[in-house]
């Protein structure tokens, strides 16, 4: 597999890293990039993430056999409409959004008769920093990428999508949009909400400066995701609202178990709750640390 032209719509951390990783794999001849912000696309060009800064989506997707849309969830539908108007008949189109049910519906509306070219993708990789200047070719190495094709997706396109995400270093799995959104609400969206809330609970206290000055490496790691970009996470929370609220209800139940054991100083119950978590966490094979 080798692509002639990648059209990168949205030259940020994820899109830029995909372009760099595809180049590293020697799997693309030319990368044309478009970002709504002229500054972003020129930065991507000067960093050699893209080979050409396109002035419009239409110009970027012209003759592209691969289109990657790496824009916020709420900008997706408008982007896909423009892509549909300019794309070649045979191009593979993918997004990288963090929620999949709503994006699938948007794509269906926007891409119409070209919807069979669309394979929704979610590379589970990222950093709390955004912007193309943080893009790196190894961002996806050893990380999962989930594809959520519909029954209308062209099987050849699905296979090509698997090859592309494998080429950039990730481990690919396929599931339904709903399975994806449930699991990601549990393992990503709710943890972000919790981290934001935990920082806010400290921020509201008189002694916040003293408290924060005493935070150690445990808090640093626990709250790392609280530095994530507000616009991105607003989109994710709204587009996966139902599943996030479902997971929040389960979490509140787990917190209530702790609280009642703590109030009654029930050592056995508290220790059991800690052990359950500790065992699972220790037996969970973690993503290898980035070198």
């Amino acid at each position: 597999m080798r692509f002639k032209k990648l059209a990168l719509i949205g030259c940020g951390l994820i899109g830029g890293s995909f372009a760099l990783a595809l180049k590293r794999a020697n799997a693309v001849d030319h990368v044309s990039g478009f970002s709504a912000s002229v500054k972003s696309r020129e930065k991507a060009l000067s960093l050699h993430v893209i080979d050409e800064a396109a002035a419009s989506i239409q110009e970027a997707v012209k003759d592209a056999d691969l289109v990657l849309v790496a824009v916020p969830v709420n900008a997706m539908e408008a982007c896909l409409s423009s892509i549909r108007e300019g794309m070649t008949l045979n191009a593979l189109v993918m997004d990288v959004g963090s929620t999949k049910s709503q994006i699938t519906l948007s794509a269906q509306r926007a891409m119409k008769e070209r919807f069979n070219c669309f394979v929704p993708a979610h590379p589970i990789a990222g950093k709390e920093r955004h912007g193309v200047e943080h893009a790196e070719a190894n961002l996806f190495d050893h990380h999962n990428t989930i594809l959520t094709p519909s029954d209308q997706s062209d099987p050849e396109k699905i296979e090509l999508a698997v090859q592309a995400w494998t080429a950039v270093g990730s481990t690919v799995s396929i599931m339904t949009p709903n399975e994806h959104d449930q699991a990601l609400a549990a393992v990503s969206h709710l943890p972000h909400l919790i981290a934001f809330a935990a920082v806010n609970a400290i921020a509201a206290q008189d002694k916040r400066d003293l408290i924060l000055s005493l935070a150690g490496p445990g808090f640093r790691d626990f709250s790392r995701i609280a530095a994530s970009a507000p616009s991105v996470w607003l989109d994710i929370f709204l587009s996966n609202q139902t599943e996030v609220l479902n997971q929040l209800a389960l979490f509140k139940g787990a917190i209530a178990d702790f609280e009642s054991a703590m109030i009654s100083k029930d050592s056995q119950a508290i220790e059991h709750l800690i052990e359950t978590a500790s065992d699972i966490k220790k037996n969970w094979s973690p993503i290898p640390p980035k070198s």
Copy 2:
């Protein structure tokens, strides 16, 4: 400052790292170590963390001018009683416990007329792994150590404690036991409780294996502290129960703010909540990562 003999009571991660760091600073001549488990103290000896494995607390503290008690909070009082019986009149005695109000009361009861030799210490450093085999001389580098002396503590002992914790690489600050316990409940104890509960909420779901298989680096870091040792955290939660429950109430309020904004899909409110957390987290100068 140079100590003739350090008596290390409890040869684990923290105690072992303190001994190694004090040796690195060339600030101690001889280290005698005691652990209730013969295996632990022999491992500490074979790893050259201690120079001599003592058969009892009495033997370890004999002629020691520095005693470090690095045992679980609930074993502290009995240890301090034995130390009092065997210690030289002029030794500095410190603990490394994660809560300070309860330890201060225990020490007062246990050490009686020697209570003026006791300076409670809490080095805010650690790993999710425990045991002397994980001890390292640089564990405290660039990390905070908090001392919570009482008005009965000998000023010379306080000064010596500051010098010792500075020598092992940490930044020392002094506050009251209550200030310490409030701040640590916010920045350490509650985050642990939250991480345990978040993992438990996932563990209780049918799809737990699928969910965990999709966890990325964000979840890995967020939940790292959930692998912490159950016995240690049971002790901490019980010995700082009031402050942990206070902080939990504040956190539940912050979660409720998110939940109501999510239910009403109030974009402005959600974005504001995320921004508050994100700004604080970005402006918080983090502990430098361990090399």
